[in-house]
Amino acid sequence: MPSELLIGLIFLPLLGACLTVLPWRWSTRLGVFAGLVSLPVLLVALTLAVIREGAWYYSLGGWTAPLGIRLFVDPLALLMLWMVAIIGGVAAAHAWHDFRPGTPEGARFWPLWLLLTAAMNALFLSADLFNLYVCLELVTLAAIPLIAMAGTATSIRAAMRYLLLALLASLVYLLGVALLYNATGTLDLYLMTQTLAASDGPATSLAFALIAVGLLLKGAVFPLHVWLPNAHASAPGPVSAVLSALVVKTAVYLVYRLWLWTLPAEDPMQGAVELFAVLGAAALIYGGILALLQERLKLVIAYSTVAQLGYLLLVLPLASVTAWQAASYQLLSHGLAKAAMFLAAANILHAVGSDRLADLERLDQRTPLSLFALALGGVSIMGLPPSGGFLAKWLLLEAAWQEGRWLLLFVLVLGSLLAAGYVFRILAAALRRADPTEAEDAEGTSPIGRRQAGYALLLALLALLAGFGAAPILEVIDAGAPAGWSAP
C-alpha cells in the first residue's frame, strides 16, 4: 500500500497536467483537482506509514538496483513533499484568479504548474543520480516558461538568462554523474556509498566537485546567484512564491543528499562542507546588503532568498542533531514565509500598480491584510519569536555554540540584523502617510482582494504556527537525521 502512495505523488500531478491540456470544459478543473488536491491526502497516509515503518525504498517496476531505478522516502523527503503540497497548493489557489480555466492564460499556466509539481515530487523521492538529472531538467523546463508568462521584456530576458545558466548547470552535473558512474558502477545514491569508500580517487573527487558546481548554480548560491533576483522578481506572484520557496531548494536538497547520505564520512570531498559554509556566510551577508539596497519590493524579497539560502549551507559543517533540526526548520519556515511574502507582494503590486518602495505609502489602509501577511512573513524571515524562523535560527545558533564556531555565530547574528533591516525598510515604506486626504480602501471593499490576501495570510500564519507546533514535527525529523548527525 505505501509504495502506491509514492507512485501516486508523482503520477497524479502528471495525470492532472495531461487533463489540463484537454479541450473539455471541466478538464482543467478536474486536472487541478487530481493533481493538487489529492496530494495532502496521499501525504497524510505516507506520513503515518513513515512514522510506523521508518524510511524505505521502492524499486520501480520491480527492477531492483543497481539496474533498476529506486524511489526512497524518509523524513527529509517527506518534509519537502509536504512543502510542495501546501505551498504549491496555496499558491495555486492564489493563481486561480489570474489564470482562470478556459482563458488563454489559464490554458498555458496549469499544465506547466502541474508538471512542475510532478517533477519536484519525483525529485524529492528519487534515489538515482541520473533520474535526478531528468527531474532537475523537468523542474527547470517547467519553471522557466512560468516566469516568462508575465510577458514583459524584463521577465522574458530573466527567463532566458536563467535558462542558459540552468542548461549549463545541468550539463556540468551530468558530466559529474558520468564520471561517478564510471568510477562506482552504480547510479543509486545509497548503494554508491559502499563503492565510493573503496574507489577513492581524483576522478570521484572531480565528479563531486562538478556535481556541486552544477547544483550551486541551480540553487543560486552566492556567487552563482546572478540569475535569481530578476527571474524571481519578474515572474507572476504565485510563480515567484513557488520558485523561491521550493524550486531553488531542490538543488540544496540534493547537496544534502549527496554530502550527508552518499559520501562516506571519511571521504576527502567531505572537506567541501567547509567551502559550502563559507559560501553560505557570503550569501547571507551579500544577499542581505543587496536586499537593503533594492528599490522594488519583489527584488528585496528575491535578494532575501539569496541570503536565506545561506543558512541552509552554513549548517553543513556542524553535524549535530541540533544542526539537523535547524536545517529542516529553515527549509520549512523559509519556504512558508517567503511564499507568503511573494503572494502578499503580488497583491500589493496588483492594488497599487507598482511595487516600487517609493509608491507604497499607506498600505495599512489600502491593502491591510496583505501588508499584515507580508509583515508576519518578515517576522519569520528575521527570526523573531515565536515564528518558525526564530526556531530555525535559534537551533542554528545553538549548534554553532556547541561546536565553538564563534565566527559562524557572528555571521548568524549579522545575517539576522540585515534581515531585520530590509524587513523594517519595507514596513517603513508601507506605513508612510504621504497624502492624508485620500482614504479609499481598495482591498477591504473587494471580496477577491480579501480572498487573495487570505492565501498570503494563511501561509504567513503557518510559518508562525511552525514555531508553536514544533515538537511533533521535530520528532519525525529527528528520526531522519543522516548518519553521524544523530545524537550519540
Binding site: E137, L141, M160, L163, L164, L174, A178, Y181, N230
Partner: protein, 102 residues
C-alpha cells in the same frame, strides 16, 4: 583502455573545450545555445566511450542515459529557441545585453 577509446575520450575533451570557449566568448544567445549543445554532445560521447568496456559486451546503462539525455537536450533546445523568438518579439534584440533596464 584501447587506443580507440583514447581517441574518443580526447575528442570528447576537445569538443567540450570548444563548447566552453564558445559559451564564454559568444555574445548572441543562438551561439551560446549551440555551444551548450556541443558540450552536451561531448558528455554523451564520454558516456558511450566509458561504457564501452575493454572486454565483454558494452554496458547498456550509459547508452540508456545518452538516449534520455538526447531527448532532454532536444526539448531544452527547442524551448530555448521558442523563448528566443519571444525575446526577439518583446525587445527587438536577440541578445541579453544591454542589461535589464528597470
Amino acid at each position: 583502455m584501447s587506443a580507440t577509446a583514447t581517441i574518443y575520450l580526447l575528442t570528447a575533451a576537445a569538443v567540450f573545450g570548444i563548447g566552453v570557449y564558445g559559451l564564454l566568448q559568444a555574445r548572441q544567445i543562438l551561439r551560446q545555445l549551440l555551444a551548450i549543445n556541443l558540450m552536451g554532445g561531448a558528455i554523451f560521447l564520454l558516456l558511450i566511450t566509458l561504457g564501452g568496456g575493454a572486454e565483454g559486451p558494452p554496458d547498456p546503462v550509459p547508452q540508456a542515459m545518452v538516449l534520455t539525455g538526447i531527448v532532454i537536450a532536444v526539448s531544452a533546445t527547442a524551448f530555448a529557441l521558442a523563448l528566443l523568438v519571444k525575446l526577439q518579439d518583446a525587445t527587438g534584440s536577440s541578445d541579453l545585453d544591454p542589461p535589464d533596464a528597470e
